[in-house]
């Protein structure tokens, strides 16, 4: 199916062309739904261009055990997604699952980590998976370049990473070949539900669709109210450093350091409430650089070629929100912090539910925004 630019009617309009919206739209295209993706222009807040690219399991789910299971499922289906994308576009997004480490630079850091993992493990209903707590020598067997300041760490075999920028290009290429209209420079101002159809006003005119999926990151907060939904968000800012390319030395991704398939080393990750992504806090970069070199002294000599700050898409309690509107049937809201990790679930699980017209509450009911009506849950969306 190929639509011309003049087509303004669709089965589904997905608002947001980042990793989350694009993965859902691609899943919808696979099912033969006439789909468009409405996106903003070149300069906007895009977590899909600023993320750390982990496909990560360890430490996720404290406070909402269903999130652990949802994440484990994603970790297990990522290779299916990368295979399909490669078959369709020829682009290898370099998904790898060697397992991942979190390193501690003091006994206290290691103890804190041990405690939070124990609490996670003890939650009723959590999916059980293996996490090893290792001392310096045990870590050194797998990560021979660690420095003396590393007291130990944790290892989970389900963790991995991917080239997330290449995935963005690949999924956008795949949209094109699947006949899904990716429409940038279509910033959405209003959504109206009339006569069983959604009328979406954009900077380039009106789009009509039978269903609408909000996948606009933190902007869902504003859009959700237009279709009888809600999406409480509390975005945070993170900074990342990237080095020049170097010889492969790090066979595993870490929570805060990973070597990309291209050879550069990414170093993260900070968290601040201040959410201006046009500036950076240099002392934070210094702390991240300092911790990174204590973990791997060989990093000292490498040049930093880029640094940036990005705004995390972050639901208020850290867990994903998947919800459907009662007052405007056919409207869905999707938000999550881990757009990279959860991409296969969005393509293979959420998209078919949307195509059918209803979320499968057995599987994703725990992620309804209705949870915010009840008690405040503790955030654990971070690594």
């Amino acid at each position: 199916m190929n639509h011309t630019e003049s087509t303004n009617e669709y089965d589904v309009a997905v608002i947001g062309g980042g990793l989350l919206g694009s993965s859902i739209a691609w899943g919808l295209g696979r099912l033969g739904q006439r789909t468009c993706v409405l996106d903003e222009g070149d300069v906007t807040k895009r977590a899909s261009r600023a993320n750390f690219a982990l496909v990560w399991v360890q430490s996720k789910g404290l406070g909402l055990p269903e999130y652990t299971g949802w994440t484990v499922r994603a970790s297990e289906t990522w290779s299916k997604l990368s295979d399909e994308i490669k078959a369709q576009t020829g682009i290898d997004v370099c998904h790898q699952r060697p397992g991942g480490f979190h390193l501690a630079l003091s006994e206290k850091e290691l103890e804190d980590r041990r405690l939070s993992l124990r609490r996670l493990h003890n939650q009723p209903g959590a999916t059980d998976y293996k996490i090893e707590i290792l001392d310096h020598d045990e870590v050194k067997k797998q990560l021979p370049h660690i420095g003396p300041d590393v007291v130990g760490g944790t290892y989970c075999p389900l963790d991995g990473h991917v080239n997330s920028l290449r995935y963005l290009r690949a999924i956008h290429s795949a949209l094109k070949t699947s006949g899904v209209d990716y429409r940038p420079e279509h910033r959405v101002s209003t959504i109206e539900h009339r006569n069983g159809e959604f009328k979406i006003s954009t900077e380039q005119g009106e789009i009509r669709a039978g269903k609408v999926v909000l996948a606009a990151g933190n902007a869902n907060m504003t859009l959700a109210h237009m279709v009888g939904l809600k999406a409480p968000m509390s975005p945070t800012r993170g900074q990342i450093l990237v080095t020049e390319r170097t010889v492969p030395f790090l066979g595993f991704p870490l929570t805060t350091i990973r070597q990309t398939d291209e050879g550069t080393v990414m170093i993260g990750d900070s968290r601040e409430e201040f959410i201006d992504d046009t500036v950076q806090n240099l002392p934070i970069n210094a702390v991240m650089a300092d911790r990174a070199r204590r973990m791997f002294p060989l990093l000292n000599q490498l040049n930093i070629v880029r640094t940036w700050s990005g705004i995390r898409v972050m639901p208020k309690d850290g867990f994903p929100i998947y919800d459907q509107s009662e007052t405007c049937p056919g409207a869905f809201v999707t938000c999550c912090h881990s757009g990279v990790t959860l991409a296969p679930n969005h393509a293979f699980d959420i998209a078919p539910m949307i195509a059918k017209g209803a979320l499968d509450l057995e599987r994703v009911g725990a992620f309804s925004a209705r949870r915010f009506d009840q008690i405040q849950v503790q955030s654990s969306g971070y690594y």
Partner: protein, 474 residues
């Protein structure tokens, strides 16, 4: 080199770049008694235009010409002014609070100033022809750097291609130094002579007129010139072997060891862009330049830009614009010292004189589209990541609307050059492909470090409690 003991923790004025604008600006603010620091990447002052003015091994001053000698006066005035100079020091960061990130001898520091004057000058416009990345192909600017600092002239068969004053100046310098040039391929579009003619009166009364014509005559006597060139392709297996050219219906090829390219200079905007200063597209000079008031104040309070970085005007106007920025700085920080420095009106008048003839040059040497926007799909645009024009056009087809989404798709501009060598080409190519103006397409969003610094240096800048809390968690 490392940070000297005498370096202060804060300055009234930090001037970045020791070319004509920076030397003049720093000398003027220091003469007015403002605590001034001039920072420069090179070990000797002079910038590009007066590179190695105090150290050049070329003892025979007739090779580089009389204009080059003018740099001596600027350096002497600066040295007497009392300003601090930090040589061999890289500026890698500048923020809205006027905190300057410096790197020197493997150590990094942050120093704050009341005023920052950016005088980072110009860089050569990219010249993306097929084969421009082959060893043996270089820019005339790079060639001239070797000549000024080390007295080197290329060996083997050399040709120059392109257009602009620097091409003729360098050709003359090579000939005077005893070098040989096999041919010059002049890419000036013939139609430019007509559009430039309108601005001829201003040019005739400028010093460029006699100097420029004299240079061109001097070169033409000794070198074969091919004019109206419309296509260039450098060919060779692992290095340059042949240049294939077209000039309208004429075609030819020439075997070469060295090909030097040049099609003018554009403001070096990376530091100003990374600081968040507003820029606009200059449709005549075909480049982005900062939005400034008459004195050089940018959109960020307390940050000024002077010299060619503010828009191309040449060395003499750069020095005057440096003085103008300095006068505004003194007027704000120490108005009672204004009497000790040149008056604003005098500097303004001299600036107007130096700008005469500029419009003629701008129109005459406006490079043609075929040499700015690669037509062949296989021509490399981003040298660091080896991304071709065809790959950029394919990225537009899947949804890239500007340089930043392109960067995410293709890594263009993510390499060590930080986009210096591809940004203009990328913007113009995307504008052309999408039928938009370069202003609408925009530029890469740049961030510090604008020049790479080592991780150890970055780790050495002071940390604070808030920063540690933002990173460390269990």
């Amino acid at each position: 080199m490392s940070f000297p003991e005498s370096l202060h923790a804060a300055y009234d004025v930090i001037v970045i770049g020791a070319g004509p604008a920076g030397l003049a600006a720093a000398a003027t603010t220091a003469e007015a008694g403002l605590r001034t620091l001039l920072v420069d990447e090179n070990s000797a002052p002079g910038g590009q235009i007066y590179r190695a003015i105090t150290t050049s091994p070329l003892k025979n001053s007739s090779i580089l010409g009389k204009d080059y000698e003018a740099g001596n006066d600027l350096v002497h005035t600066f040295e007497k002014s009392g300003a601090d100079r930090l040589a061999g020091c890289t500026v890698w960061s500048l923020d809205r609070e006027r905190v300057v990130g410096l790197s020197c001898g493997g150590e990094a520091r942050l120093i704050k100033a009341e005023r920052v004057i950016i005088a980072t000058g110009a860089m050569e416009r990219p010249f993306p022809i097929p084969g421009w990345t082959l060893p043996g192909v270089m820019t005339i600017g790079a060639g001239q750097t070797l000549l000024k600092s080390s007295g080197l002239i290329p060996s083997g068969r050399l040709a120059l291609a392109g257009q602009g004053p620097l091409l003729w100046l360098y050709a003359a310098q090579i000939l005077r130094a005893g070098g040989h040039i096999a041919a010059i391929f002049d890419t000036t579009p013939l139609a430019n002579y007509i559009s430039a003619a309108l601005h001829l009166p201003g040019f005739i009364f400028s010093p460029y007129w006699t100097k420029g014509l004299g240079l061109i005559r001097e070169v033409k006597r000794a070198v074969k010139i091919v004019t109206g060139v419309t296509r260039l392709e450098a060919q060779g297996k692992n290095k340059l072997q042949t240049l294939v050219w077209e000039a309208g219906s004429r075609t030819g090829s020439i075997d070469l060891d060295v090909l030097m390219l040049h099609q003018g200079v554009v403001p070096h905007v990376n530091l100003a862009m990374a600081a968040g200063i507003k820029h606009e597209w200059d449709a005549i000079q075909l480049c982005f330049r900062p939005v400034l008031d008459e004195s050089g104040n940018s959109s960020i309070k307390g940050i000024m830009i002077a010299g060619d970085g503010a828009g191309i005007g040449g060395a003499e106007s750069a020095a005057e614009r440096g003085r103008l920025a300095a006068i505004d700085t003194v007027a704000n920080l120490r108005p009672d010292a204004l009497a000790q420095i040149p008056s604003r009106d005098n500097v303004r008048n001299r600036l107007a004189q130096t700008m005469r003839g500029r419009a003629f040059l701008d129109h005459l040497y406006r490079p043609s589209k075929v040499f700015r926007i690669p037509q062949d799909a296989s021509t490399i645009v981003c040298r660091c990541e080896e991304i071709t024009a065809g790959e950029i056009r394919a990225s537009i087809a899947i949804g890239a609307t500007g340089p930043n989404q392109l960067k995410a798709y293709r890594r263009t501009g993510m390499g060590p050059c930080q986009g210096r060598l591809c940004s203009l080409t990328v913007t113009e190519l995307m504008a052309d492909e999408r039928g938009k103006s370069p202003e609408e397409i925009g530029y890469y969003r740049l961030r510090s470090p604008v020049k790479p610094i080592s991780l150890a240096e970055l780790a050495s800048i002071p940390q604070d409690e808030t920063a540690i809390k933002a990173v460390v968690r269990g």
